[in-house]
């Protein structure tokens, strides 16, 4: 299946209040072993034909990420990792 994944994360130097909020909430759930949390976007692009990584990169650069504050990673979907529920 021709799915390309673009992961967009805030650049490390940019403050991530959302991740911060989650990190702060964890102790209340009894979680102490997580030192930091970053929250970004996972964007799945379904291609009609063959997954086109260069095209995906172009789209990410132009539209999906604002490279002033964000960086992105391109990969072809590999559905490992166990899906829940």
């Amino acid at each position: 299946m021709a799915r390309v994944v673009v992961d967009v994360m805030l650049k490390p130097e940019i403050l991530d209040p959302q991740g911060q909020a989650v990190a702060n909430a964890l102790p209340r759930l009894g979680v102490t072993e997580v030192s930091s949390v970053r929250i970004g976007k996972r964007i799945e692009l379904e291609f009609v034909g063959e997954p086109d990584l260069d095209k995906a990169r172009e789209i990410a650069d132009k539209l999906l990420a604002n490279t002033v504050i964000e960086s992105f990673t391109i990969s072809v979907a590999d559905d490992k990792g166990q899906v829940e529920k």
């Binding site: 209040p17 959302q18 909020a21």
Partner: protein, 227 residues
Amino acid sequence: MKIGVVTFPGSLDDGDARRAARLAGAEAVQLWHADADLKGVDAVVLPGGFSYGDYLRCGAIARFSPVMEKIIDAAKGGLPVLGICNGFQVLCEAHLLPGALLRNSHLHFRNRDQKLRVENTSTAWTSGYTEGQEIVIPVKNGEGCYQADEHTLDALEAEGRVVVRYVEGNPNGSQRDIAGIRNEAGNVVGLMPHPEHATEALTGPFGGGVDGLVMFTSVLASLGVKA
């Protein structure tokens, strides 16, 4: 004088911006996102709202609309452009202004009457204020936290390109309390607060302030009209 107000799908304060332009004495002209035509307007307002739903990133999609292509060129040619809230976000996405606007640091949408200090009056949109003047204009945004790298921020400060600053409380965590900035030439200004919501005593900020009207009279003045 004609002030054009762009309507993107999802624009919300376009009607208010047109009303503000009228109250300032201009002719308000609606510009449609899909028309690559500025209808001969003398200045442009990119209004607040949620263009295209603002789903990906505020302003990210609007920036690619046909009317924006024209506005980007015209702005580089000196056309006065004011980006309000979502409009500010569009201007940053279009790289007409540096930096970006992120999720408010407290993660909430916040609507309140906000005190601002006018830091720079050498722009098409703030010439009617006096430097250091304190004004009250509503803010209402979820992603108004201005961010740029230190180098850019220093440059903005050094070149007097910080136009308005939040005072008595920063509503969104914006760096250096920045509420609005301008380009080098001063014809392009972007700000998070909503001057169009402070143009009538009846509906303006609590207490009846109309401080926002000056932005619209300023541009008329700068266009050589008695405001």
